[in-house]
Structure formats: structure tokens, C-alpha cells
């Protein structure tokens, strides 16, 4: 039984439903950010971020900073590339446009390699693009929350290492960390940035990053200082290293309660093998995708290999909009998200299936949501006289 007040089940692609213990950690009593007790909690949290990324390489560096996931883009754009340098941005939805805008804010040239809606750039296209000019970094949206498209970051990285080995591989993992397989060291990734409120299962307000030794070296060999202050690796790295070595340190006051909540959620996640967690998400994704097909609906991402495992973006039947279907879901205690990709926002809905909603079968969230979707669709079709 949950200790939370009764509420509709939140099945959007983040924020997600939270475990009771995680929410209880959010109301931790006031604590100094430099007290031994908090230093220990923050240090352990950083060490668990390494586990989350299946990383054991001591030259990799985790960061946990007060901010939205978006802040991770600023960390990349203001520390790992300099004015006038080139970035290749793989586009599989809305978020690539924003990441490109962030890179350009700090003076980089962002070249977007765009795929049609529901698809991702092919390995051949990526190889071709990498051969055209030297790129300091390439960005990949692991799962684009606007389209539910999954990118194959392992194989993209293999292409990068073969064709342009010094290009940093930057993964936007906001909607993938904690649900999609990521082997940070083994796949030779350079940056994965994420947020707390998706598959990590902690309330929003934390920007979380993992940087490789190669990325740190790139930062250290900059010709110009970092072009952001709050997002500066120079300001944060000593703080993260000190806390993980059990020493207090100060740049800006850390969000103590959110760090406690992250500690609780990462303790739960890392208590079991990550492979098991990925498998649970894949299995539930299969159930959702099968149910969507059975309802005669199409996904934005038609190819199974490019379908995310923690969310499904679903085209509505012609003639229906999210406004016709979401209220019927809400009436049944289930919250999905409307479309986000500007060109087709009124034609689809998004179903998030991650975190406790899939790892805790006693919740029965997925079955309930599938049943609610079926009923809400029937009801909406009848109301609109749509077949």
C-alpha cells in the first residue's frame, strides 16, 4: 500500500510515479550541505551514479547539479566545444533542435542530420557526415521524448571511433538512463546527460551527467575558459570529487532533499543487476506495443529496433486529437501526455512505462493503462463518430 494521497497514475514520459521511500526522502529535515551526514549521502550518490552507468573507470566523472535536464546541454556546450568549432547533431525528434540551439548559443556550429519523423539517421548517413568535416562532438538523443524513437548509441559510437576517433560522443539520455541499456565504459561513450525525474524515479530538479576521461581531457585542453559560470566543469568538478572522497566542498548550495531522494532511488536501482532492470522495461514495452497493435493503432516509430522501451508514442485514429482521448483516460485514473513534436502534436499521444510502474508489478499500472486506453478510444470514437 502506498502512503501517498490518492491520485491518478502518472504515465507520461516523465515525471513518473515515485516510490514511497523516494518521496519520503524528499521531506528530510534541514541539514547543512557540509555536514558529515550529508557529505556521506552525496558522496555515495555520486558513486551510485557510476553504477547506474555500469562504469568502473576511475577517470570517468559523475556530476549531480541542481537544475533541469536541459542544464546538461549547457554543460556540454560551454565546456566541451569552443566558439567556431563543429558539432554534429543527430535528429530523431524535437530535442535535437533544442540541443542544437544550446550549442549555437555558446558559439559552436551545429550541423543537424535529420531523419523523417519516427525514424533516426542511418549509420551510413552518420558515417558520411563524419567524413565531410571534422566534428569536435556528435550528439545523439538516446530516446527522443517527443517521438519515442530509440537510437543505437552503441553502434553509432563504433562508427565514430572508426571514422573520427577524436569526436566526443555525447548522449542525451534524459529519457533513457535507468531504462535503456547503457554500458558507459564498454561502449566508449564520452558524455551521458540525464535528469532525475524519468526512469531514475526521483522528482525533477537534478541534472545528472557522466563524463569520460576523454571528455575531461578535452575540457582541460580548452584554449578559452568555459563559457558558462553555473554550468562550468571547472566550478563543479572539485566539488564532485571532494564529496565522493567524503570531504565537504562549496561552489553553490546543493539541493539537499533532492540528493537524499536520488540516493534512495539509486540505492533501489543499483541493488539489483542493471541488466535485469533493462529486461523488465523491455518486457513491459513489448506488452504495450502488442496492445497498441491490437487496438489497430500505429506508433510514430514504425521500426521495432528504433522503438523506445520506456515510452510509446501512438498515432490516434484519423479524426481524433489528444483532447478527445486524454480526458477519457483521466476519468479512468490514468494520465498520458499529448503530442510534443510540433508538426504532428495534435495527432498522437505518449504513454510512459518506466520506473515503479513496471518494476513493481503489484501496482498493476500497465494493465490498467492498456484497459483504460481501449475504453477511452472506444468512447472517443463513438462521441466523434469515428471508425
Amino acid at each position: 500500500m502506498s502512503s501517498q494521497a490518492p491520485h491518478s497514475t502518472l504515465l507520461i514520459p516523465g515525471p513518473i510515479e515515485f516510490d514511497d521511500a523516494v518521496l519520503q526522502s524528499m521531506s528530510h529535515f534541514a541539514e547543512s550541505h557540509v555536514s558529515p551526514a550529508f557529505v556521506k549521502v552525496f558522496g555515495e550518490t555520486l558513486t551510485m551514479v557510476r553504477k547506474l552507468f555500469q562504469s568502473t573507470n576511475p577517470s570517468a566523472q559523475p556530476f549531480v547539479i541542481a537544475g533541469s535536464g536541459t542544464l546538461g546541454w549547457d554543460v556540454v556546450a560551454s565546456n566541451l566545444i569552443e566558439r567556431g568549432e563543429n558539432a554534429l547533431v543527430l535528429h530523431s525528434g524535437y530535442f535535437a533542435d533544442s540541443f542544437a540551439a544550446c550549442l549555437e548559443t555558446y558559439g559552436a556550429h551545429a550541423t543537424q542530420l535529420k531523419a523523417p519523423i519516427g525514424d533516426r539517421p542511418s549509420l551510413e548517413q552518420i558515417e558520411q557526415a563524419l567524413k565531410e568535416k571534422p566534428y569536435k562532438l556528435i550528439t545523439i538523443t538516446h530516446v527522443d521524448t517527443s517521438t519515442g524513437v530509440l537510437s543505437d548509441i552503441k553502434r553509432v559510437t563504433e562508427v565514430v571511433r572508426r571514422v573520427s576517433p577524436d569526436t566526443l560522443v555525447v548522449v542525451d539520455g534524459v529519457c533513457s538512463v535507468g531504462c535503456e541499456e547503457i554500458a558507459f565504459d564498454e561502449w566508449d561513450l564520452d558524455v551521458v546527460l540525464t535528469a532525475s525525474q524519468k526512469a531514475i524515479g526521483c522528482p525533477p530538479g537534478l541534472s545528472i551527467l557522466m563524463l569520460s576521461g576523454r571528455a575531461i581531457d578535452r575540457f582541460r585542453s580548452r584554449k578559452t575558459p568555459p563559457s558558462s559560470y553555473f554550468a562550468s566543469i571547472a566550478n563543479w568538478m572539485p566539488v564532485m570529487q571532494n564529496y565522493e572522497n567524503n570531504k565537504p566542498s562549496y561552489f553553490a548550495t546543493p539541493p539537499t532533499q533532492l540528493v537524499h531522494a536520488l540516493h534512495t532511488s539509486l540505492s533501489q536501482i543499483t541493488a539489483r543487476p542493471m541488466a535485469e532492470r533493462f529486461a523488465i522495461h523491455a518486457k513491459n514495452s513489448d506488452r504495450v506495443k502488442a496492445a497498441v497493435a491490437e487496438l489497430g493503432l500505429r506508433q510514430l516509430a514504425p521500426q521495432p529496433e528504433s522503438q523506445a522501451h520506456a515510452m510509446t508514442a501512438i498515432y490516434l485514429p484519423d479524426g481524433l486529437t489528444p483532447a478527445d482521448v486524454l480526458p477519457g483516460l483521466l476519468k479512468r485514473g490514468v494520465i498520458f501526455a499529448a503530442g510534443l513534436h510540433k508538426e504532428i502534436a495534435t495527432r498522437y499521444i505518449r504513454f510512459g512505462h518506466m520506473g515503479v510502474s513496471v518494476t513493481d508489478p503489484a501496482r498493476n499500472d500497465i494493465d490498467k493503462a492498456i484497459a483504460a486506453l481501449k475504453e477511452a478510444l472506444t468512447e472517443a470514437k463513438q462521441a466523434k463518430l469515428v471508425n
Copy 2:
């Protein structure tokens, strides 16, 4: 009776002790950031930020963003001044150095007007500096948390308006908002930036700003785009305006639980006249300062008019360091902070007296802390054979 687990009383200059209801709001169940219920809460919160600043001018604009207080400096430095332009930074402690570093990160020229430790630049010095060259903005640390020095932002602003009327007046109110008098409209301020975890009494993780119409106009007339992405007013202003008009909007996921907590704390604060709140802080400050004098101790700020009302920075007797005194306080259930100003960090301690610790007399926090300080000092002197 508090529902919080037993813990030592946190009397550092932030984070501070939190009210039970505020902490309970931190564990609010999962909610979509674009749901009608959350949109209402966020919108009301923004409206209460106006009240907090005693502002009724519709052209002023509040911002609440996931981040530390430090992020407010980036908002100023990347939106309200351009590369090569001049900023005058009034120095009354550690935080002016950092604000200057932030301004220079984004390309402004920061000229610091430094006062000796424990003091603040005089109005004559400020007037003189403003006459020397044109400054796009002036920054004032309202209360410098490293020294406990209070600046007279009202009179400084009068000087600015008389001598250099177009210079934006930017107040770092991290340790002053919610405890020191601020009349945003009446005093003609342009920016006050703050954080959630000090006198506002909400856990850390929120950067809060108030901008005047003049500041917004300055932003709108930039010759170059904002030089930060996450701190860009262009990205955040439509979001804040939409939420306050009860419409969902998206740039980055807001920290929903922290916004609930801020809503609760601001509801409590704005339920009574702000003048009453300032008076309570002043009265308790007087008690603390009298007790400090009675113990034969000196403050870093010798002049009463430049002493903060929500914290006191106290020189230790010669021969004692924070490490000699803080454990004795902790043993008695009270947490003070060590020194922060690099040049004298080992010679003083900081006592924060704000928020529920002064507004809720039933807690008895201040009397307990004064008694503990007296005993801990006596004990430390005996141990070190100091008179």
C-alpha cells in the same frame, strides 16, 4: 510538535530549519508539470513572489527556475549586459568576487569597489565610481553570507538614479529576501535574485528572481542574443508568463515538488504583512547581537547599520577556531557555520537566525542557541586555556 525526525537545530545562514508543512509538500505525489492542478500551483507561486517583493507593478516579472541561487548570477550576466560592457560590483564579502567572476565569464568587465572586511562601500565611494565611467549595471550583495554585512540597497539605488539613472540596480538577495526589508517597486530596483533555502524557508534547489520593466527592456534591446541557454530570459519568460496566466508551457521540466514547497512557504509568509516579518527578524537580531556583546565577542560588521538581521558573523576569542567551538554547539543540539571569507575563515563563526527559528517562538531556537554558545565558548576556553 514537529513531525520531523529528531535532529540538531540548523542555525547556519542557509539552508535553515523548515516548517513541517513545507517539508510535507516536498513529498507531493507525482504530477505532470502541465496538469491543471500544477499549473495553478506554479502560477499562484509566481504571484506570491510578487507579494514577497511587495511589488504590484505588472511590468515586473518573477522567475522561479530549477537551480541554485548562483544561477541567478548567470541570468543577470548572460541577459542584462553584453560582451565588453561595464559592471560595477560592490564588494562586502566573498560573494562579490564570485558574482564578478560570473559577469566576466560572459564577457562583461567587472570593476569591484571593495570595502574592508566587515564593512561596505560608502555612498560617496559609490557615487564617485559611478561618475568615472558608464556602467550598464551595478551589483549589490544585500547581505553577504560570508561576513553578515548588510548593504543599504535603498540609498544605493537613490545614488544610482541621481548619478547614472540608466544603470540597472542588481541586488543579490540570497541571504536577505524574506528577512530584510525590500520594496521592489518603491525603491526602483531592477533585479533581485535569491534562492529558496534561506529566509524563504523552502529546501534548496530553486533560483528565484524578480526583474523590473527596465531590466526586461534592457534584455529586449540587446544587440546580441543571450549568452546562456539554460539561463536565458528568452527561454524562460514565456513560460513564467503562461503559468501565471494559468496556461501550461514548456522549456524545461520544472521541479514540481520544490514548487509545491515554495507555494506552501510563500503562502505562510504572505499571509501576514511583510513589515511584520521584517520586524520579527530585527527584534531577534537585536537579541542575538546583545547576547554576543554580553559574551564579550565582536561581530565582523562593527557598525550597527551594516549588520544583517538574519545572521550574525562572530569573531571568536583569540586562540580559538571554529573547530574548537562548533563541536560544543553540536553537542548541545545546535549547528552554526564556520567562517567562509578566505582571509579570516578560521577566526569566526556564523549564526543564522531566520525563518521559523524566529517566527515560531514555540521552537525556542534562539534562546537555546545563545545558551549553547555561551556554554560551548566557556568549555572551549577551558580546554584551550584561553581567557
